[in-house]
């Protein structure tokens, strides 16, 4: 019993220590935003990598999920003769919840892993050391551009995901369930509020921040050797996914009360 408590205590302490390190890391990354030099080229390439190249996977994920959501809500609604709520529930479900969460998780899978693998490889092959000896701060050159770019561009990805998800729902509702396209879209637009959209984009910014931060953190603190790259990649995706889902609950709660 005592041993169990001790193990639990040790695990809790380890988690708190890790959280502390991540917080310090985040603070360090953010502290470079306004201090020159600013690496615009690195920032631009991060925007492209994180935002533009994630569009296909985000689009496909949202399309299928929006379609499935419409079917489920129709089936569920039919149990108490409320099939008509499909456009409204798909809209709120996509915009407030599924859009941001799916995009966040997809970005964690695609972007967090690739950032972690890239930076961990740089660490293993002494490229990070080389940066430092070339008078370049790895935090400023590698982390800050990625974290800032992700925080700005993932909300846009979420907006795209929201729209495509709703379109997916519309397609299924009109082709399969017999809704009228124009009135379906009208219902959606009338129903959504500014707060719904603000909630969606805020979640996107926070999830993007988490995704890039975890990739950089695990990449830069990876241990040496090829095995270190694998461990860093895996840990970064797990940590980013869990943190995104936890942050999603906290943000949902905050907007719920708002």
């Amino acid at each position: 019993m005592i041993r169990l408590l001790a193990a639990l205590g040790a695990a809790t302490l380890r988690m708190l220590a890790a959280l502390g390190r991540v917080t310090l890391f985040a603070g360090d990354a953010l502290s470079h935003i306004a201090r020159p030099p600013i690496y615009w080229r690195a920032f631009g390439s991060a925007l492209l990598q994180i935002g533009f190249f994630s569009l296909p996977v985000v689009g496909l994920t949202a399309l299928f999920t929006g379609g499935a959501l419409a079917l489920q809500i129709y089936a569920g609604g039919a149990r108490f003769e409320a099939e008509a709520v499909v456009p409204q529930i798909v809209a709120i479900g996509m915009v407030r919840e599924l859009g941001p969460v799916l995009v966040g998780l997809m970005v964690a899978a695609r972007v967090t892993s690739s950032i972690a693998a890239e930076l961990a490889t740089m660490k293993v092959t002494e490229q990070i050391d080389a940066l430092i000896t070339l008078s370049t701060d790895p935090m400023k050159y590698l982390t800050t551009p990625r974290v800032v770019a992700a925080s700005l561009v993932v909300p846009l990805l979420v907006a795209v995901g929201d729209v495509i998800g709703i379109l997916g729902g519309t397609l299924v509702a009109t082709l399969r369930l017999g809704f009228n396209t124009a009135s379906y879209l009208q219902n959606t637009v009338d129903f959504l509020t500014a707060l719904d959209i603000a909630s969606s984009l805020t979640k996107g910014a926070v999830f993007g921040f988490i995704a890039a931060l975890m990739g950089c953190y695990y990449g830069l603190s990876s241990s040496r050797g090829a095995a270190g790259v694998g461990v860093a990649t895996k840990s970064s995706v797990v940590a980013a996914s869990v943190l995104i889902l936890a942050a999603n609950f906290v943000l949902t709660e905050a907007f719920f009360s708002a």
């Binding site: 030099p37 490889t121 092959t125 002494e126 050391d129 940066l131 000896t133 070339l134 008078s135 040496r224």
Partner: protein
């Protein structure tokens, strides 16, 4: 002049450096030798601030190296890493010109200098726009050397310059280092376990053994030295594998 005084460094409970004391004079070419895992790389990293010694002090021209003074030192510094450590995401010329570009030099001028430095290490202009991943290990070492000398620094470090190269390429790199350093009159510290590197590129040698400098002296005096550790190092089948990437 680079002075290390009584440097101690442990990882966990494993001591690596246990009171290493060493000086490299201006214009001198110092080789630090020692078996694999003896702490040569850790010693260099302590100078560069990549590792923090547990105790001891490091000074350059009498000024202690600290987080505040190190940037000035690094501004006049170049290093060839064991694995070359070229940036995978940048073409060769931007690797070589990295510091120039980051200090605001216009691209055409920086590229010009990069091409000259590449030529100096035997890489033609056709390699300038290629990426490190497309080059052989020997070419990467050359490009790493070009990057190290891009700003004509007065201090250059070499970490195992011949590791991973076959004997012929190793000889070429050694000769190249010797000539370039002689032209520039730079102060160099080379860590190696390759005696041919020592004989080609260094004028003084320090042997790192069990965390301390067990012997140091002129390369010319090495063969006549009575130090049992040095004899053992020079004779033994030291690091027959010689390709560790630590």
């Amino acid at each position: 002049m680079i002075t290390l005084t009584d440097i101690h460094k442990s990882f966990g409970s494993t001591p690596v450096l246990q009171g290493a004391t060493l000086t490299a004079q201006r214009g001198e070419n110092l080789a630090i030798i020692g078996g694999s895992g003896s702490g040569k790389s850790v010693l260099l990293k302590c100078i560069l601030g990549l590792e923090t010694p547990d105790s001891g002090s490091i000074a350059v021209d009498g000024v202690p190296l600290t987080a505040k003074t190190r940037p000035t030192f690094l501004n006049d510094f170049g290093m060839l890493f064991q694995s070359a450590a070229l940036f995978d995401s940048l073409p060769l010329w931007q690797n070589v010109a990295f510091r120039l570009l980051h200090s605001g030099m216009p691209q055409p001028k920086a590229r010009d200098i990069a091409l000259r430095k590449l030529a100096r290490v035997g890489l033609g202009p056709e390699t300038a726009d290629r990426y490190p991943g497309e080059l052989s290990g020997g070419m990467q070492k050359r490009a790493g050397l070009a990057r190290a000398i891009a700003t004509d620094p007065s201090v250059i470090f070499f970490d195992e310059p011949t590791t991973g190269l076959d004997p012929i390429r190793a000889r070429t790199i050694n000769a190249l280092i010797r000539d370039i350093v002689a032209e520039a009159g730079a102060t160099t510290i080379t860590i190696t376990h390759d005696m041919s590197t020592v004989r080609t590129t260094a004028d003084r040698v320090a042997l790192l053994h069990e965390g301390q400098i067990a012997w140091h002296g002129a390369v010319a005096d090495m063969d006549a030295a009575q130090s049992p550790q040095l004899k053992h190092f020079m004779m033994g089948p030291v690091d027959a594998i010689g390709t560790d990437m630590r």
